[in-house]
């Protein structure tokens, strides 16, 4: 015990600290600069533009609250906001529910080799550009499309999905499902097997174990997956236009409309800023839900 005092770690010297800082700066600075240049600066510009005005179709720097007052009081904006929020929320919920059985199977039932193959297959959709995938979805759901052709002989249909909120949600799911399955699979894969076995051992059947042990254990990952689905759907423009037929318009369509009709960039910026603020609030709330100490233990 006497030699414990002689082997003490020396206090970090000032030069060692400086060298560590330089090291961190060297590797940390480039991404930081990138984010500053292509995210923070444009964001600042976007916020600034909400106070500009448009005079005879020309953008004029200004310091007016007119755009904010107009948009926040506009009925069409409120309707679009509620509609978009509801549809994104519905997508997050549907994607989570539809993905869960698949993720469960991938995490717990399949062999590692099969799981690796399927994870690869889930990344493949990201190879093709998203609008292309939406166009191919149109082929399935159009009135004379594949789905109606298949179900007609069974005496079903025709179903009409295109140009409706249902079409938009289908598009959102095309966008979000692969990602949600991936995130859920990783989340479930990290649930300790002994916890599941311990639940079985204490008399908890297979289905019940999912609710009482697996979901609470994978809570953070499952919430993050749902949040991603919400964020992607909330800002998406392609699905509501090409599958939803722009009726009723979502916030992203509203932005495009403001620009197209009357070149009103400031009003479009107001909508965009409101969307960003909404997403920040939603993400903060979801992360609090995921990591919150109070919610963590019942």
């Amino acid at each position: 015990m006497s030699d414990a005092t002689s082997i003490q770690t020396p206090p970090p010297s000032a030069s060692a600290k400086a060298s560590r800082l330089r090291f961190a700066a060297f590797w940390g600075l480039p991404p930081l600069l990138w984010q500053l240049a292509f995210f923070v600066v444009p964001l600042g510009f976007l916020v600034a533009m909400t106070f500009w005005s448009v005079k005879s179709f020309r953008l004029t720097p200004d310091a007016t609250l007119a755009n904010w007052i107009f948009i926040l009081n506009a009925g069409f904006f409120r309707n679009a906001y509620i509609y978009t929020f509801w549809l994104a929320g519905l997508t997050a919920l549907l994607a989570s529910l539809i993905a869960f059985p698949a993720s469960y199977a991938m995490a717990f039932l399949l062999k590692p080799a099969t799981r690796r193959f399927l994870v690869f297959m889930l990344v493949v959709p990201f190879f093709t550009s998203y609008p292309v995938r939406i166009y191919s979805t149109q082929i399935f759901f159009s009135p004379q499309g594949i789905i109606n052709a298949v179900i007609a002989p069974l005496g079903l249909g025709p179903i009409s999905v295109l140009n409706s909120p249902a079409g938009t949600v289908v598009g959102y799911l095309v966008l979000t499902l692969p990602l949600v399955v991936l995130l859920q699979t990783f989340a479930l894969g990290n649930v300790p097997r002994t916890l599941i076995e311990a639940a079985h051992n204490l008399g908890c059947g297979r289905l019940r174990t999912i609710l009482t042990v697996i979901v609470p254990s994978a809570r953070v990952g499952l919430i993050v997956a749902a949040t991603f689905a919400f964020v992607l759907a909330f800002g998406d423009y392609v699905a509501p236009v090409y599958l939803g037929g722009s009726k009723p318009p979502t916030l992203s369509i509203l932005i495009a409309d403001q620009v197209k009709s009357g070149n009103n960039w400031p009003r479009a910026s107001v909508v965009a800023v409101v969307m960003i603020v909404t997403l920040i609030i939603v993400m903060t709330a979801m992360l609090a839900l995921a990591y919150g100490r109070k919610g963590a233990r019942r």
Partner: protein, 365 residues
């Protein structure tokens, strides 16, 4: 045979478990009586944990049968059994408070909330963790977690408790305390304990009977003293430690005795009744290290072997003396610290190792 009167509580009958090409358990049979404390002991990979998991229903045997009170339970799902397990890493639910962890099994059985809270608190009281009821399990020390795991299992008031290396994650001084606490719990509750361990000191200290396993097979079953004093084969004699294994050649030595000559010297031992030993046969004579005396001069009684002290190893109040015989064989002798202090030994010293003829026994071939 309808009367289950004679049937033991649990029968493991020629059970095997294979994972593809890998054999975890080759062929294991033993029985467990109600209220026994059984230890499954062996080196890692001997199949002891797999055997325990099959009793819990977490693994299904590839062959053989497990019977509870005479009824085959091979295919019963784990949640249909009453055999709660205390896990090596405790496997507590981190998203539940301590008391909710203890209540977990009772909740699955549909006990009303008030009733299960009362029972959970009773068990936590008994195990000295009632003060942590509303804490998270991540705020507990290893020893406290162990108690939560025990309370969670015992709250079900099972007739059999399974323990998988219950003490291995604890620090040494806590391990000894928990060991005696487990023995006390077992005595008080009167239920069956089945405990997996790789430590013979743990197994011998706690269990009524020990099942020693190696390479998926049972090597010996018996009370700790029985195994310690009469190892049934070389593996057991070496694994339990504290034994000298002398190889040599047998020859007749009068009525009921065998003489063995080898590098260790020569000694007499009782002729075994169950196996025949022929003159000139190669045999292994086992003598427990704590049954050998050391003396400065020969006395002419019993077996005596001349040896030199190589080194001494002090473990608490006992000392192992390592010696080398004149013939070059290793010899170990266990003494108490007290004895060593009375007659000091130092490396290089020449001594006579002496033991009574009745202390030696033979390993089967």
């Amino acid at each position: 045979m309808t009367g289950a009167t004679a049937a033991p509580m649990l029968e493991i009958d020629r059970v095997a478990k294979r994972y593809g090409e890998t054999v975890a358990v080759a062929d294991v049979s033993f029985t467990i009586e109600k209220g026994e404390f059984i230890a499954l002991m062996g080196p890692s990979g001997c199949g002891k944990t797999t055997t325990l998991r099959m009793i819990a229903g977490l693994d299904v045997p590839s062959d053989g049968e497990i019977r509870l009170w005479g009824r085959r339970i091979n295919e019963d799902a784990p949640w249909e059994r009453e055999a709660p397990l205390v896990w090596q890493n405790y496997a507590l639910f981190p998203f539940l408070s301590v008391v909710k962890n203890v209540e977990f099994g009772l909740k699955q059985r549909g006990l009303p909330a008030a009733e299960r809270r009362r029972k959970a608190m009773e068990w936590m009281e008994r195990l000295g963790i009632a003060g942590f009821a509303d804490r998270g399990v991540d705020q507990l020390s290893g020893g406290q977690r162990q108690r939560v795991a025990l309370a969670r299992a015992l709250a079900l008031e099972p007739e059999m408790l399974l323990l998988d290396e219950p003490l291995s994650a604890l620090d040494p001084h806590l391990r000894v305390r928990m060991q005696s606490e487990l023995v006390r719990l077992h005595r008080e509750l009167g239920i069956t304990f089945v405990c997996v361990t790789h430590s013979h000191s743990e197994a011998f200290a706690m269990a009524d009977r020990v099942v020693i396993m190696s390479e998926g097979r049972v090597q010996q079953i018996g009370a700790p003293r029985e195994i310690y004093r009469r190892a049934s084969n070389r593996f057991v004699a070496e694994f339990v430690g504290g034994n000298n294994l002398f190889s040599g050649t047998a020859s007749g030595a009068g009525e009921g005795m065998v003489r063995v000559d080898g590098p260790f010297g020569s000694a007499l031992a009782p002729r075994p009744t169950d196996v025949e030993i022929l003159d000139g046969q190669a045999v292994t004579l086992v003598v427990a290290a704590d049954r050998i005396d050391l003396a400065a001069a020969p006395s002419g009684a019993g077996n005596e072997v001349e040896a030199r002290v190589v080194t001494l190893e002090f473990v608490g109040s006992s000392v192992t003396v390592f010696l080398e015989t004149t013939g070059g064989a290793e010899l170990r002798v266990q003494r108490s610290l007290h004895q060593i202090e009375n007659t000091p030994l130092s490396p290089g010293q020449a001594v006579f190792a002496r033991w009574a003829q009745a202390e030696g026994f033979f390993l089967p071939a």
